[in-house]
């Protein structure tokens, strides 16, 4: 860091190598959660309109409820399970200012 001009605004972000792995992990969290959220909501909407626009007597039913409704609920519940599994199995970091510091992660 000593050799760098910290006031410079012309640096190339692709040439910086010391990105904090915890902050990069946060980026993965964001992409994962918003990714599955977007996929689930779009799929749920498509199922709604694919199966739910006919008269009730022509509708398909699952577990006593319209298929389009039950399909949406099942997709959301699947997203819930996947999201929680991700939280359980993703790395747990120290939240200290610097990763090797003590005191930030109580």
């Amino acid at each position: 860091m000593d050799n760098q001009n910290l006031e410079s605004t012309t640096y190339d972000v692709s040439k910086i190598t010391n990105y904090d792995r915890r902050l990069e992990g946060g980026k993965r969290d964001a992409i994962f959660f918003h990714g599955i959220g977007l996929i689930a909501t779009v799929v749920a909407t498509v199922i709604m309109y694919a199966y739910g626009c006919v008269e009730p007597k022509e509708m398909k039913f699952l577990f006593g409820m319209p298929l389009w409704w039950m399909g949406g609920v099942l997709i959301y519940l699947a997203m819930y399970v996947i999201g929680n599994l991700y939280l359980i199995f993703s790395p747990t970091y120290s939240l200290a200012a610097r990763e090797n510091d003590k005191g930030g992660d109580k």
Binding site: L6, G37, V42, A44, P56, Y76
Partner: protein, 525 residues
């Protein structure tokens, strides 16, 4: 008997509910005062402690704040009212928001907490002050968030006041407005987020009790009246087919836009994100997100489905937002109805408290103190913060003086505006290394203005509304506004790469090694 338009309640039920509500209100306000006194004794009565709780909240408190902030009048009153009117389609659309805690603090929580420890951030926008080194960006985020939150708070107050008008049986809507806002402001401005955390735990438990009671009783009564749940659904399909159809009220593009901002867009809603500054442990964060998702899944999922079941039992409600109240007063014992009424108020008040706190953080701290008068003393900052809470509540109450028929549409408008302004600047600002202050500023203002203009074109002005429906599939204005905001962020940033912050600040934000001088001097003078 007191007539409430399509249903009625006895004097005894009303009295029981009022007594339980009065006891509950005293408990909540007392708790806020207790936390305030405790904070003073422990000498942690600063603005920082008020807004972040000193950073030491536990998983359960975090979960309940996150859940009760988001589940409020919308979940307990407006969504049942809307699904009473349009059927199960509304339930699926609004159920999408149940993973808000995961989208929100799950997505930004690690980075926000680490940066808080690096720079000593007091509010969520401090992080963006470091990221972009721009009063304009922070000011735009603060102002758009407060504008959106005002309409959201208006929706909450309206829902609460409607419930109060029902319980008094004398249409005391305006007295209801007054009581809802006064109780919320007192315990928010006395104890800050610590008070909110304590109250949110109680409120969350009451909301869960209320939700289970309502759903179990609705299913039981439907099965009793029609022979079984399956036969109740068959009756619904034959007699009220719109309850079972997906396209009763929304076109595909309208539903898609609503479901995206109710689901994914809620992840960057301003009033939910400050929770990211209230913990010091990643394990606590993860547990908080998981508990919050469980509570949200139960409450949001079940309450969004209550409307059609209530409609099957009584299709004659004049005020459809009274759906929850109808169940509480007519299908359950009066003391359970009293607890449910408290649950509804709990939801509304905790959400209002979160909104007031966020307004204090964004407007008083981020905009006024840091951008306009940075040399203000700590005591003066607290005064400005308290005045902001009161002023915010007063304006939101004024907006609620003329209530809409279905409150959920007001809440939709508010959420859409905040998500359009915040989604891309916040997420790309946090994680995209090429984001610049110019891109973020254009994206925030462009998204907000586009949403407002398109909302009025699509939903308010009759001539353009007809054109919008006939030629554009009644697309939800959030979708084009969201796309415009993304394009402005992406192309605006790429076009202004010479507008980067100095490397020292960039390293604090992204790297494992950085100069403390830049971490501790991020504020803009």
């Amino acid at each position: 008997m007191i007539d409430l338009g399509g249903f009625s309640m006895t004097e005894g039920t009303r009295l029981t509910m009022i007594v339980i509500f009065a006891l509950y209100s005293v408990l909540i306000v007392g708790l806020g005062a207790y936390v305030k006194i405790t904070s003073k004794r422990m000498q942690s009565d600063s603005l920082s402690s008020f807004l972040t709780g000193g950073g030491g909240l536990g998983a359960f408190s975090i979960a309940m704040i996150a859940a009760t902030n988001s589940m409020a009048g919308g979940t307990m009153v407006a969504a049942p009212g809307l699904t009473y009117a349009i059927g199960f389609s509304g339930g699926i659309i609004y159920y999408a928001g149940f993973l808000t805690a995961a989208f929100g603090i799950g997505s930004v929580g690690v980075k926000a907490a680490i940066l808080k420890n690096r720079i000593g951030a007091v509010s969520f926008l401090d992080i963006f002050r470091l990221r972009f080194r721009s009063k304009a960006v922070v000011g735009a985020l603060a102002v758009t968030s407060v504008a959106g939150m005002l309409f959201f708070a208006c929706g909450q107050i309206t829902a609460g006041a409607k419930m109060f008008a029902a319980i008094t049986g004398s249409n005391q809507y305006y007295l209801g407005l007054f009581l809802v806002i006064v109780i919320a402001v007192i315990y928010t401005s006395t104890g800050g987020i610590k008070s909110m955390a304590k109250v949110a735990v109680i409120q969350g438990m009451i909301m869960l009790t209320a939700t289970f009671s309502i759903m179990i009783m609705l299913l039981y009564k439907n099965a009793e009246q029609y022979g079984s749940i399956v036969k109740a659904v068959e009756f619904m399909g034959t007699t009220y087919p719109k309850m079972l159809k997906a396209n009763t009220a929304f076109t595909f593009l309208s539903a898609l836009g609503t479901i995206v901002f109710c689901g994914v867009g809620l992840g960057t809603i301003p009033y939910a994100l400050p929770v990211a500054l209230t913990y010091n442990s990643h394990r606590t964060l993860k547990r908080g997100v998981m508990i919050s998702c469980v509570v949200f899944t139960i409450c949001q999922g079940l309450m969004c489905a209550t409307g059609p079941w209530a409609h099957n039992l009584n299709p004659n409600l004049v005020v459809r937002d009274y759906t929850t109240f109808y169940v509480a007063t007519n299908l359950l014992p009066s003391w359970v109805g009293g607890i449910i009424f408290c649950g509804v108020f709990a939801a509304i008040q905790s959400s209002l408290a979160g909104l007031c706190l966020s307004a204090a953080a964004f407007f008083a701290k981020d905009f006024y103190v840091d951008c306009v008068k940075p040399d203000m003393s700590e005591n003066a900052q607290k005064t400005v913060s308290t005045l902001t809470v009161i002023g915010f509540a007063a304006i939101a109450t004024a907006l609620a003086l003329k209530p809409t028929d279905l409150t959920q549409y007001m809440i939709n408008f508010a959420i859409g505006s905040m998500a359009a302004a915040w989604y891309w600047p916040v997420l790309m600002g946090l994680y995209w290394k090429k984001a610049t202050r110019t891109g973020a500023l254009w994206s925030c203002i462009g998204g907000f203005v586009a949403y407002m203009v398109l909302y009025f074109v699509s939903s308010v002005i009759p001539s353009t509304k007809a054109f919008w429906v006939a030629n554009l599939g009644n697309v939800q204005p959030f979708l084009p506004a969201w796309a415009i905001s993304f394009a402005l962020m992406y192309f605006g940033s790429l076009a202004t790469q010479n507008d980067r912050v100095p490397l020292g600040y960039f390293q604090v934000f992204f790297c494992d090694d950085y100069d403390e001088k830049y971490a501790k001097n991020f504020r803009l003078n």
